[in-house]
């Protein structure tokens, strides 16, 4: 049955390529969800390295420094339990309603200088459109 063997061979090449594609892309794009406490704790142990992180916390309003000429935003986030803060640097535009106490989610990496270098800053305003139960 050489025909069937050829078919099976072709399929396994295909599957192999697909598997390789999945695994290699997966490792590049893996992002860990963490809280600020987890970030600082892991950073102390030097475990974060070059990992992509997604960190949520609350904005410290008075820490916001926005420089429109350089398009650079610096601010601090504070953990839910108010114990740990994390400084963030974002080379981008200040989001609307960037006020004290709103929920902020940042995507990026934690650098050795202990600053979170964000690629993306998202805000979640306490919207009344979401059903509150």
């Amino acid at each position: 049955m050489p025909k069937k063997i050829k078919l099976i061979f072709a399929l396994s090449v295909l599957l192999g390529a697909f598997g390789y594609l999945m695994v290699s892309s997966f490792n590049n794009a893996k992002t860990y969800y963490m809280t600020i406490n987890e970030v600082t704790a892991s950073a102390d142990k030097g475990k974060l390295g070059e990992q992509n992180l997604k960190v949520s916390g609350k904005l410290v309003g008075e820490s916001v420094k926005w420089e429109p000429s350089k398009v650079e935003l610096r601010f601090e986030m504070i953990s839910e339990d108010q114990k740990e803060t994390m400084p963030v640097l974002y080379k981008g535009v200040k989001p609307d309603n960037f006020n004290d106490g709103i929920d902020v989610i940042v995507d990026g990496k934690y650098t050795v200088e202990q600053v979170f270098l964000a690629d993306k800053v998202m805000t979640k305003c306490p919207s009344k459109y979401e059903e509150q139960q």
Binding site: L11, N28, Y33, P68, K94
Partner: protein, 663 residues
């Protein structure tokens, strides 16, 4: 109104259950009267659901704030069109809308004479799904809950939803989602009736193609809406909810192709069954993702308990369907085998594997955060690069196949023929590539490969049409135009497919251009300042303020000059709705086939200077235009009359009759 709606829904629920029972009684030989009565119950369900929907629409348009749903999603100053679209703005309303489309489809299927044999099995399956939705509407997510003390005004609609996209995107997407229930029901009916031939495929072809079209449009309108409303300059973010609507599109596309192999070659029967089950399952899974709150997404409805019900129902119906396939596996096994690894059917199989592989990778990436949290306790997401890196090569391979599949022979093709057939398309593609490199100056490998493949697909498709015209001209002596028109209109299924392929190629061009060559810049302008970005000269005079309807608007008129050509004034806005704290940033776009100039007002300073973000997005217009080309292709293929049937030359030799094959 609330009472009419509630009563309508409970009667519909009761009638739905009755219809399923009556169909069951008819199927166990209790007499024809049960069939008639079951059919009437289907129509009754449709009627009473329609009454509820009308009651809801009436309540929305008149602003009946005694109904909680109306209060939550509308306000008095909301424009009338958005009051109506509030029907699908919230959880309960969108379920009602879904159920409504579903029962209308069930009624349409039941009334059709063409489906006579299948109705006793296909209709109750559709009704089981309808009953599930009606159950949810009656007991879990009731749309007509009343407030004891009605407020004077409602809370208003989320500003992001106040966009023409809200009118058309959910409607097309839901029609697509719900439409796939029809082929699923017929597939299951065929299994129950032990009729594993291609009859169910023929009967549902129209439904499948139209559902697929709506799903395509739903995805495209959604992308376009995101592009003009969310203000990040892109149209697709691999958000879980976007993925939820893309996955059934991919498996549905695979299904559309692999059923042709069953029709022509009487093979891949098990595969087709599994594909339609998976596609139907994915449409329900999408609903689960959107409503369960298990994934964070801009599109998701708030957390609710609906998710669990959907998960349980979806699992049950999929398990039942798979059990049925397993039980009838011997019937499905009968049929032909692959005769050659290089043939049209094997190229279709490859196309299927690519589409399903792509759907699988998206599924994996979408559910991974849930899985990782459950298994290792750490929530790990996969970012956009994962989806792009996996799906870009798959997409290119898939596009390449679009140029190859239609031209190679059924059963057994040989290399010499293939080499001969594809000689010119490859020569043209390579010339095209050289032109792009040396004249167009394109050096990015991904774009170059993608464009070259697109040129290949276009030229191989045109070559095939040309060949057909030449043969026809020789045989009939007609002139070129007449024979072209007759050739196309006599094989509308085939050439409609070609038109759809051209639409997809245009979309691939748009996706490639906008992803590979996009650029962005952020600039702070002082009043009166002028700056140059790419080919564009932008002057800013100052910010202004105005108010309209239910909003306050801060805006800037930007004067844009492109290559010495005055493009006029662009009004870029930041809109503050009275019902929302979060302002909306409305982009202004100049769209051409070469590129989109996309500008956002992102903020301002006390000294009157304003910050603008400018995106240059090449070729996006190709993506939207490709969508319209697909619409033309589908209409061309489906338009009733001669030439839309399946017994065309596309199937090669051998006439096909219902259920069995005569060749």
């Amino acid at each position: 109104m609330a009472n009419i709606g509630t009563i309508g829904l409970s009667i519909a629920f009761g009638m739905g259950i009755y219809s399923v029972v009556a169909f069951f009684l008819f199927n166990s030989n209790r007499g024809l009267k049960y069939l008639l009565s079951a059919k009437n119950a289907v129509y009754g369900t449709a009627l009473f659901t329609t009454i509820s929907v009308l009651a809801m629409l009436y309540a929305l348009i008149t602003g009946d704030f005694s109904i909680e749903y109306v209060t939550q999603y509308t306000s008095q100053d909301l424009p009338a069109i958005y009051k109506l679209t509030a029907l699908w703005a919230g959880n309960a309303g969108s379920l009602l809308f879904w159920a409504w489309i579903l029962v209308l489809l069930a009624a349409l299927v039941t009334v059709s004479k063409e489906n006579r044999e299948y109705i006793p099995y296909a209709s109750p399956i559709m009704m089981v799904v309808s009953v599930f939705f009606l159950f949810m509407l009656n007991f879990v997510s009731q749309p007509f809950v009343q407030l004891l003390s009605p407020p004077p005004d409602g809370m208003g609609m989320n500003p992001m939803l106040q966009n023409p996209g809200m009118v058309i995107h959910p409607v097309t997407l839901y029609l697509g989602y719900v439409g796939f229930t029809v082929p699923f029901a017929f597939a299951m009916a065929a299994l129950i009736m032990k009729n594993p031939g291609d009859q169910w495929i023929k009967l549902t072809r129209k439904w499948t193609l139209i559902s697929w079209l709506f799903l395509t449009l739903g995805n495209l309108f959604g992308a376009q809406w995101a592009y003009v409303e969310l203000g990040w300059g892109g149209y697709w973010a691999w958000d879980p909810v976007e993925n939820a609507s893309l996955m059934p599109w991919l498996t549905g596309s695979a299904f559309l192709h692999s059923v042709m192999v069953q029709e022509r070659k009487n093979m891949l029967k098990i595969w087709n069954m599994v594909l339609i089950i998976v596609t139907f399952g994915l449409t329900l899974f999408g609903t689960f993702l959107v409503r369960s709150g298990v994934v964070a997404s801009v599109h998701a409805f708030g957390n609710s308990s609906l998710g669990a019900y959907f998960l349980i129902f979806t699992s049950l119906i999929i398990l039942a369907a798979l059990y049925l396939v397993a039980d009838r596996i011997n019937l499905l096994r009968q049929g032909n085998q692959f005769e050659s690894y290089i043939s049209k059917e094997s190229s279709f199989l490859l196309n299927n594997l690519l589409l399903v592989g792509s759907a699988f990778s998206i599924f994996w990436g979408t559910v991974f955060p849930i899985v990782s949290e459950a298994v290792v306790g750490q929530k790990i997401a996969v970012g956009i690069p994962f989806f792009n890196q996996v799906n870009a090569p798959i997409g290119l391979a898939f596009t390449l196949l679009m140029g190859i599949c239609p031209l190679i022979a059924w059963r057994k093709a040989n290399f010499e023929n293939i080499a001969k057939n594809f000689l010119w398309p490859w020569i043209i593609a390579i010339i095209g590539m050289l032109v792009m490199v040396f004249i167009g100056g394109i050096t990015k490998p991904y774009a170059l490969i993608a464009y070259t493949i697109c040129v290949f697909v276009i030229s191989s498709t045109l070559q095939d049409i040309l060949k057909g015209v030449r043969v026809r001209k020789k045989l009939t002596g007609e002139n070129l135009i007449v024979s072209l028109i007759r050739l196309l209109s006599k094989n509308r299924r085939r050439y409609g497919g070609y038109v759809i392929h051209m639409g997809i190629v245009m979309m691939i061009v748009g996706i490639t251009g906008s992803n590979v060559f996009n650029s962005e810049a952020v600039k702070t302008f002082k009043p009166g300042e002028t700056a140059v970005v790419g080919d564009y000269t932008i002057s800013f005079k100052g910010l202004q303020q105005t108010s309209r309807d239910n909003m306050e608007v801060i805006y800037a008129d930007l004067r844009v000059i492109k290559n010495n050509y005055d493009m006029g004034n662009l009004q870029v806005e930041k809109v503050f709705y009275s019902t929302s704290e979060q302002p909306m940033t409305e982009p202004a776009i100049i769209s051409t086939f070469k590129e989109d100039f996309y500008v956002l007002l992102t903020g301002w300073e006390d000294d009157g200077s304003a910050i603008f973000k400018i995106h240059i997005n090449p070729q996006i217009k190709w993506l939207w235009t490709g969508g319209w080309v697909i619409v033309i292709g589908v209409i061309f293929a489906l338009w009733p009359g001669k030439g839309s049937g399946v017994g065309s030359r596309y199937l090669g030799r051998g006439e096909v009759s219902y259920g069995k094959r005569v060749s």
